[in-house]
Structures are given as structure tokens and as C-alpha cells.
């Protein structure tokens, strides 16, 4: 039994930040890197399945990212993951979520996991589609935004509860192998002590280039610009209802150029 947990090193912005000169991303000086919050929960889900089964299932974490991204894999190893894989290729710089999903699909094909547990989304780019794209590329069933699940290692299906709008839950049985995207709050992620992280530094991380996987990792989109929108203005309109109405009409006229 094997569980694959794709994780991402996300960019957390400092309070005051600047946009890079090319205008397509935030200047690296203003970024604190961290493990994506959702992935903390998907890893915890995997760890709980592993522990409930007496430790037999193998938990493999994988990330697509440059050297520095190893840091998040170490954190996962410190929390108990068995193996960690990092895939990179300079050509992946600026890759979109589909390209990432393609690389991950390449890894999934060689690893052949029984379950893939991804986060619902990443807290920096928030596309929320890498996991789902992965299921499509692998032609596996999936369930998104999983808020609760029942599964024991080796089961032929997972019973999940998906979070819908308005506080509703959607109970679904998904047959395995499957891809699930895990929602925040499904469990309480464990703490990785610094000692654990330091000790994980001595553990090997398997490195692959995208080419090793023979994957086609073309992006389907590219970032044109990243910017802070101009602040919208708000003003309180004082006066009697008639005065207020007159003022509003005036503003509309100004705005529409009429």
C-alpha cells in the first residue's frame, strides 16, 4: 500500500512587498517560503492512515520545485513521511498548474500509489486545480474538497464527505486508486519539531529531472502581469434622502461619462 502526497512550497508575502521588475511576480526578497497549509492536512491524513495500519503503508511526498524546495520535503520527512521526491528542470521555471500536474502524473505512474492525497489548493496561487488535473491525466476517479473520510489501508473504496456551499456535505464513495483533494480542518496536523527537521536533513531526497520521467510538461497558460489593484474609493453620502439621491445620480453620471 502506498500513498502519494504532492506538496508545494508556497510563497508567503511580507506585509510590505514589491513586485519584481518584470512585473510578473513578487520580488523574492519579500517572500517567506513555507509548506502549503493544505498540504499539511493532506500529509496528516496520509500519516493517520499509515499509523492506523500499523505503519505498513508507505507515504511518499513529492514536490516540483528547485533546490530550495527541499526544505518543505524535510518538514514532511520530519513528520513521518517515508520517502521524498523532488522533480525539477530549469524549463519548469514559471510552469503553470497543468504542467505541474503533468510532471506529478509522471511520478505517479512510476510510483503507482493506491491513493493520491493533494491539497484543495495552494495558498499562494489558489488555482485549486493541480490535484484534479492530476486525476484527469491519470484517468483516476477523484473527489475534491474532502472534509472527512473513512478509509483503511487496502480498502477498495474511500468513503468521503465533500464540503459544499452553505455548510452542506456531500457523501461519496470513490473507488481506489483515486485522487482526493483535502480541505483544511479535516484533522489537526502534527508539529514537526526542529530536532525532527534537523534529523531529516540527513535523509536522502530522490531527485528527478522532468526529462527522466519522460513527461510532456508544457504549460497551457502564462502569467502576464501581477499587480496590486488600485484601491477602490468609498465615501459616505450625507444629507436628506433627496440630497443623497441627487448626489448618487451625479456620481453615476461622472462614472459613465454621460
Amino acid at each position: 500500500m502506498k500513498i502519494l502526497v504532492p506538496v508545494k512550497r508556497i510563497a508567503a508575502l511580507e506585509e510590505d512587498f514589491e513586485i519584481r521588475d518584470d512585473g510578473r511576480d513578487v520580488d523574492g526578497d519579500f517572500i517567506n517560503w513555507d509548506l502549503n497549509e493544505w498540504d499539511d492536512y493532506s500529509l496528516e491524513t496520509a500519516m493517520q492512515i499509515k499509523e492506523a495500519a500499523g505503519g505498513e503503508p508507505e507515504v511518499v511526498v513529492v514536490t516540483v520545485g528547485p533546490d530550495d524546495a527541499e526544505e518543505v520535503l524535510r518538514k514532511c520527512l520530519a513528520k513521518g513521511a517515508d520517502r521524498a521526491i523532488r522533480v525539477w528542470d530549469d524549463a519548469l521555471e514559471g510552469a503553470d498548474q497543468l504542467a505541474i500536474a503533468r510532471v506529478l502524473a509522471g511520478v505517479a505512474k512510476t510510483e503507482a500509489p493506491d491513493l493520491i492525497l493533494a491539497g484543495v489548493q495552494s495558498s499562494d496561487h489558489s488555482h485549486g486545480c493541480t490535484g484534479i488535473a492530476l486525476s484527469a491525466l491519470l484517468d483516476m476517479p477523484h473527489a475534491a474538497v474532502v472534509a472527512a473520510m473513512t478509509y483503511s489501508a487496502g480498502d477498495a473504496k474511500v468513503r468521503v464527505q465533500r464540503e459544499l456551499e452553505g455548510g452542506m456535505l456531500h457523501a461519496v464513495d470513490v473507488s481506489t486508486p483515486a485522487v482526493l483533494t483535502i480541505q483544511l480542518g479535516i484533522n489537526t496536523p502534527r508539529y514537526a519539531s526542529l530536532r525532527g527537521i534537523k534529523q531529516a536533513a540527513a535523509r536522502p531526497i530522490e531527485e528527478l529531472s522532468a526529462a527522466d520521467l519522460g513527461a510532456d510538461f508544457a504549460s497551457a497558460s502564462r502569467v502576464r502581469r501581477m499587480y496590486v489593484p488600485e484601491k477602490s474609493r468609498a465615501q459616505m453620502i450625507e444629507g436628506s434622502p433627496a440630497e443623497q439621491a441627487a448626489r448618487i445620480a451625479e456620481i453615476i453620471r461622472e462614472a459613465t461619462g454621460a
Binding site: 526542529l194 530536532r195 534537523k198
Partner: protein, 722 residues
């Protein structure tokens, strides 16, 4: 001594060899053999008991540091025991009584040992006798007095337990509910009473025995004439005679009582290692291996060890196992503990007693139980709750007052290390630790903002990483980021500037000093922070460090040296006092406030600086009125040990609120002065929540000093500085 012409006048009429005491006179030889058999049996049981105890301690982990300087340690221990220095503190009555019992017991023991030495060793083997003549007479007198002292001390202890009943002797535990299997401490109470009665009976029967011997041998002039050398015995003998007891009756009374007295005395000795009496040895041992920096400098961990902290009872060092047995349940730590006072499920005494019961159960047997039975964390009998461990504020009040040098704080922190490793902690604390890891400060602010407070000054603050300074100011998280504290921080910068001190800060190169992170038990993160700071400090040029934060002060002073960072560091109160004394700062306006001062744990108890802040209060012309609990008995604000990052339970008085109420009892109090950024935060909050706002104010000493500087002078200096 054996000179017949010596000073003891009454003995002149007798040959000195006559003046001694009969031992087995009138005993059949079989009875004497029986006595020896019982005596030897008692010694065998005693030795086996000692062996079991020592084997228990040896089942703990090693502690090489404590084995150094054995001679100095021995001398210090003997000094402490003889002076009763630690037992007297905050309880003079118990101190005096214990002193009577202690010296009474020691003298009586030496007395008995002397008789054995002569009768069974020197006389038997070498034919050498010394227990007669003047020596014997003085011996009788001293031992009689010792017996009186012992009984008097015991009576006081009985009165204390039976009538005075100080709350600290109540063994009810805050960490268990009535009905829990290990809630009941009546076993301890019974043992206490049994001990008191046993000793009193031994001493009292000893006197009766002595009197009976005198009456029995009243016809022997060398006995009867010299009877007043045993004043208590002689007095009782007179009473017996008055009551009509004759020599013969006294003889048979002696026979029976002799066996009774001997039997309980021997049973008592045999049971020493198995009862509370063993504190004679364990407490002395504990004092001998005392670490004067037990709470100030926590033990390092081995980075390669498969696990850290105390998970199993066998993870405790032999010294900490010895500590557990040294505890005399005196309750001083229980009384001093702010967590206990605030209704938390923690009493340092009960942590120690729980672990002791656990160790006795698990480690006194022939072989060790299976691994799983050694786990000291959990909800079972003898195990310590995680809530208990997280309630501790590492304020050191317990370590400070413990008369027998029990090291509660390192034991608690070692146990926390295990909890941290397993992630068993409040989510908020977990978040804070992650934040500190990510940003280097507990506020989650960007490093860049660490020195933002300098923008409010009208002079530049040097970057000590770029240019050498005389004084490097380690600012600390609270003083850097907390808006209220930033005002104080700016005030201190103005004082330094005004005094013409060449100082600088580390700007974003500074990280959280790690004092509290270490006390939470996150040793890995502490190491990271300490190493970062030491690396930055070693790249800067400075003569000494100053800080306004007692927490940073403590860890830099006491713990950084273990990581290669040895610096001279002073607290700002010490430095400002120096500047005032050198005339570089002149607080000329006398403020005249009625002021009380709260000793921060990490400045006072931890680093014994009680006087500099008080001298400053005097220097600014305030009238200092200390609270009942001050100096080494100061009552923690509740923020230590990482508790500032863990929400306190609602509905119960927090330590800071208890403290505010204590201060509010001072008539006409105007200012509650503090010398610690966390204190300012905690107490300003508590001032409001206890409804004392408007009655008095909480002020940092820095603010009082600035206020007392003539406004004109400040303005002038400020202009000059620009």
C-alpha cells in the same frame, strides 16, 4: 579524660573506671545473643534497603556534570545541613524545631555509635576502653539534653500537623479529582504520624529506661551520687521513687522496657531506607549534587539521540531520581507556585511525588518492568498530565525555596521536550513556535520591522553589525514589536543617547533570544535561535551587552556560553544605575510617588538582581513599599515558560491578577513599577481586569527615570543630538 584528677568534682570519690553505665547487666547470655541477632538482622535489612534504593537511582540516566567537584560539594552540603539555612527560610518555627530534632538525633546517634564502638570494637578487639569517667558523665549530660531537644522538636511538629495546620501541609492535589485512585494521600499522613510517634516513643522510653536503671542501681554510690549528670533521668527517677518504686521493681521494669526500646529503635533503623526517614540520606545527597543554575541554565540535549526529554522514568538522571526521594513534602514549593495559586492543575510538590511513587513502583523491583510500563506521561496512576506540565511558568519559585534542592524546573522542561517532540501542545503554542521558526520573532512580523521603533527617535541608532560600539543593546521581541513597549524602548534609547553611551543594535540580525522557547521544551528551535544570535553577535564589535528584557538577559548570560557565546551582559537597571552614579544621567526631579516594585523572575530569582531596580526607585525620589511577596519570593506575572503564548483558562484569576490584588492592598499606592517588557504587558492588562485602573498605574522604571529628568535638560540634549 580518664584522669581521676580532672575537673568533674563529684567523680573524685570514685575510680573513673567505675563511672560508666551497665549495658547487659542482669541479662542471660542467651538474651544477649538474641539481641545481637536482632541487631544484625536490622542492619542487614537496612543495608538491603539501601541497596534497593541505590539500584533504583542507578537505573536512571547518567549525569556526569554533577559528579565533578565532589569535595566542594560535600563541604557546601555539610554547611547547608548544619546551618539549616534552607529549612529556616520562610518558616522559622519549622526551622527551629527541625534543628532540635536534627541535632538531637545526630547526638543520640553518635552516642549510641560510641557505645557500640567501645563495647563491640575497641574493648573487644584491643581491650581499649574510653567510655567511663568524666567522658561518660559529659556524655550522659549531652545525650540527655539531646533527647530533650528531640522530643521538644517532635512535639512542635506534632502541634504543627495536628493544630496549626499550615495550608502547605495539606496534601490535597490540584491535579487529581477526589475519587481518583491516586488522589488520596492519607498514606503520607499516616507515615508522618508514625514517624513522629516512633521517634518520640524511642526518646521517651530511653528516658524512662535511664530512670529505671538509676532506681534499680540506687545502692551503687557511683551511680546514684552522679545521677544528676543525667538530669532528665534523675528527675524521673525521683518521681519513681516518690511513687514507691523500689530497686527490684525498677530492675524488672528496666528489663521489659529495655527490649521494647531496643526493638523499636532497631525496627526504626531497619526501615530507614524504606520510609520517609531516608530523607536523612536523600536530602543530603540532593543538596550535595545541587546545581546552583538548575533553572537558569537548562540541560543540553544530544542532537543525535533517538529521542529527547523525559519520556520514561529511566530517562531521568540518577540525580533527578534522587531529588524525587529527597522531597520532604514540606509544601514550600506548593505554596510558592503561581500556577497552583491560579487554580491550575499543577503543584510542583505533586509532580515530584507522582514521579516518586512511579519510580518506587517501577524501579525498586528485582528487574525492570517492560518498556511500556515506564511511560511517565499520561492519565494513569503516577503519570503526569500534559495539562500539568503546560501549566508551569518556569518561574523558579519552587526551585528557589526547596530546602532540599529538588530541581522541578529542569524536570518539567525535560518532560515538555517529550511533549513537544510528539506535538502534544496547545494549537496556539504550536503556531507561535512555527512563527518564531519562520520569522525569528514571536509576533510574526517581518525581520525588517524589528527596528521600526527607531524611526520615532530624533537621532540615529547605530547598526552594531556595521560599526563597532561600546554597548550592544539586545532589544528582544516584546521591546521591539509590542506597541506599548516600543515607547519604553524609545525611552531607553533616549537615556543612552543622553548619557553619551556609544551603543548600537543588531537590527534585523537579531532573533528571539530563545529563553522561553527553550523553557517550552522546543530545544531544536532554541538551538537554532541561539546559534543565529551568537553568529550575529560574533560578527559585531562591542564591549558588553545590555538588554531591557530579563528573559533575554538570562539566556544570553547563562545559556549562550554552552553554545560558544560568552559575553558580558548587564540588565538595563544595572547600567542606568551605573550611569547615574557616574553622573552621566541626573534624575533631578524627585517624583515622590508611593511605589511598589515587582521583581521579574528572570532578573530577581534567576539572576539575583534585587537591588539595582530598588536603588533606581530611590534615585528618582519615590517611596518604595515592597509587597509581602518580593525579592526571592516574588510572585510570577504568569508569562514565563511560554505561557504568554498559551491562553489562560477563563473564569479563574490569572497570576497577574492575583499580583495586582496584592499590590492594591498597599495603602495609597500610586505606581506599580516593573523592569521587564512582558511584565508591562501582563500587568497593564491585569490592572484593568481587576478594576484597579485609575487607582494606581503600571510603569516601567525607564519611564519613571525619564520623568524625573528635568524636561529642560531632555529638550536641550535632544537638540544637541540632532
Amino acid at each position: 579524660m580518664d584522669n581521676a584528677a580532672s575537673t568533674a568534682t563529684t567523680s573524685l570519690y570514685f575510680a573513673p573506671e567505675q563511672i560508666t553505665r551497665v549495658l547487659f547487666e542482669g541479662f542471660a547470655s542467651s538474651a544477649i545473643y538474641l539481641f545481637y541477632i536482632i541487631g544484625i538482622a536490622a542492619i542487614v535489612v537496612f543495608c538491603h534497603g539501601c541497596y534497593v534504593q541505590v539500584r533504583k537511582y542507578r537505573r536512571g540516566a547518567g549525569d556526569t556534570a554533577s559528579q565533578a567537584q565532589i569535595k566542594d560539594r560535600l563541604v557546601a552540603m555539610v554547611g547547608t545541613v548544619l546551618s539549616h539555612r534552607t529549612i529556616k527560610r520562610r518558616d522559622t518555627g519549622a526551622g527551629h524545631a527541625h534543628r532540635l530534632i536534627f541535632f538531637g538525633f545526630v547526638l543520640l546517634f553518635i552516642g549510641t555509635a560510641t557505645i557500640t564502638l567501645e563495647y563491640d570494637i575497641t574493648a573487644r578487639l584491643f581491650g581499649f576502653k574510653f567510655w567511663y569517667g568524666d567522658f561518660y558523665l559529659w556524655f550522659s549530660l549531652v545525650l540527655d539534653l539531646a533527647g530533650v531537644g528531640l522530643i521538644a522538636g517532635m512535639l512542635y511538629m506534632m502541634a504543627r500537623r495536628g493544630w496549626i495546620k499550615p495550608p502547605k501541609l495539606d496534601y490535597a492535589r490540584p491535579d487529581r479529582e477526589p475519587g481518583d485512585p491516586d488522589f488520596d494521600r492519607s498514606g503520607y499522613r499516616r507515615e508522618d504520624w508514625a514517624f513522629l510517634w516512633a521517634l518520640i516513643i524511642i526518646a521517651a522510653t530511653g528516658f524512662v529506661l535511664e530512670a529505671a536503671r538509676l532506681v534499680w542501681l540506687q545502692d551503687r554510690p557511683e551511680v546514684w551520687t552522679l545521677r544528676w549528670w543525667s538530669p532528665v533521668g534523675a528527675l524521673l527517677a525521683e518521681g519513681m521513687r516518690a511513687a514507691g518504686l523500689g530497686a527490684e521493681g525498677a530492675g524488672s521494669l528496666r528489663g521489659g522496657l529495655w527490649w521494647f526500646h531496643g526493638a523499636i529503635a532497631l525496627v526504626f533503623i531497619a526501615l530507614i531506607p524504606r520510609t520517609k526517614v531516608k530523607h536523612i540520606f536523600t536530602a543530603s545527597g540532593s543538596l550535595m549534587f545541587r546545581d546552583p543554575l538548575a533553572a537558569q541554565r537548562l540541560p543540553k540535549t544530544d542532537p543525535d539521540a533517538p529521542s529527547v526529554g523525559y519520556a520514561k522514568i529511566t530517562d531521568l538522571t540518577w540525580k533527578h531520581l534522587l531529588n524525587l526521594d529527597a522531597c520532604t513534602k514540606c509544601g514550600r514549593c506548593h505554596e510558592a507556585c503561581p500556577a497552583r495559586a491560579a487554580g491550575a492543575p499543577l503543584s510542583p510538590r505533586d509532580v515530584i511525588l507522582s514521579l516518586r511513587e512511579f519510580a518506587n513502583d517501577a524501579l525498586e523491583k528485582q528487574s525492570l518492568p517492560e518498556e511500556a510500563k515506564l511511560d511517565i506521561h499520561g492519565k494513569d496512576v503516577g503519570q503526569v498530565f500534559m495539562e500539568t506540565l503546560w501549566s508551569c511558568r518556569t518561574c523558579m519559585a519552587c526551585v528557589e525555596i526547596c530546602p532540599v534542592a529538588v530541581e522541578h524546573v529542569p524536570i518539567i522542561v525535560q518532560m515538555r521536550r517529550k511533549l513537544v517532540e510528539e506535538g502534544q501542545m496547545e494549537p496556539l503554542l504550536q503556531k507561535t513556535l512555527q512563527t518564531i521558526h519562520k520569522t525569528g520573532n514571536s509576533f510574526g512580523e517581518s525581520k525588517r520591522k524589528r527596528a521600526a521603533w527607531t524611526k520615532g527617535l530624533d537621532f540615529p541608532v547605530k547598526d552594531a553589525r556595521k560599526e563597532p560600539v561600546d554597548v550592544l543593546w539586545f532589544v528582544g521581541d516584546y521591546a521591539s514589536f509590542d506597541p506599548r513597549n516600543q515607547k519604553v524602548t524609545q525611552g531607553f534609547a533616549r537615556l543612552l543617547n543622553q548619557a553619551g553611551v556609544n551603543f548600537g543594535i543588531l537590527y534585523e540580525g537579531e532573533s528571539n533570544a530563545g529563553n522561553d522557547v527553550r523553557r517550552v521544551g522546543e530545544e531544536g528551535l532554541y538551538e537554532l535561535l541561539a546559534e543565529n544570535n551568537i553568529a550575529t553577535l560574533s560578527s559585531a564589535g562591542f564591549k558588553r551587552i545590555v538588554t531591557t528584557d530579563p528573559h533575554s538577559f538570562n539566556t544570553i548570560k547563562n545559556e549562550y556560553p554552552d553554545f560558544g557565546g560568552k559575553y558580558e551582559i548587564v540588565h538595563y537597571t544595572q547600567m542606568v544605575l551605573e550611569l547615574i552614579r557616574e553622573g552621566r544621567l541626573t534624575p533631578d526631579r524627585k517624583l515622590g510617588y508611593r511605589t511598589t516594585y515587582h521583581d521579574p523572575c528572570h532578573l530577581g530569582r534567576f539572576n539575583k538582581e534585587y537591588d539595582a531596580p530598588r536603588a533606581l526607585i530611590e534615585a528618582v525620589g519615590c517611596e518604595l513599599v515592597d509587597m509581602a511577596r518580593s525579592r526571592d519570593n516574588s510572585f510570577c506575572c504568569g508569562a514565563g515558560g511560554g505561557r504568554i503564548w498559551i491562553p489562560d483558562p477563563v473564569g479563574k484569576d490569572k497570576p497577574a491578577q492575583i499580583r495586582m490584588k496584592e499590590a492594591a492592598q498597599i495603602d495609597g499606592l500610586e505606581v506599580f513599577a516593573v523592569a521587564c517588557p512582558k511584565d508591562l504587558t501582563m500587568f497593564e492588562d491585569a490592572l484593568k481586569t481587576t478594576g484597579n485602573e485609575g487607582r494606581f498605574v503600571v510603569r516601567e522604571l525607564i519611564e519613571l527615570i525619564e520623568e524625573s529628568m528635568a524636561p529642560r535638560q531632555i529638550a536641550e540634549e535632544a537638540v544637541e543630538a540632532v
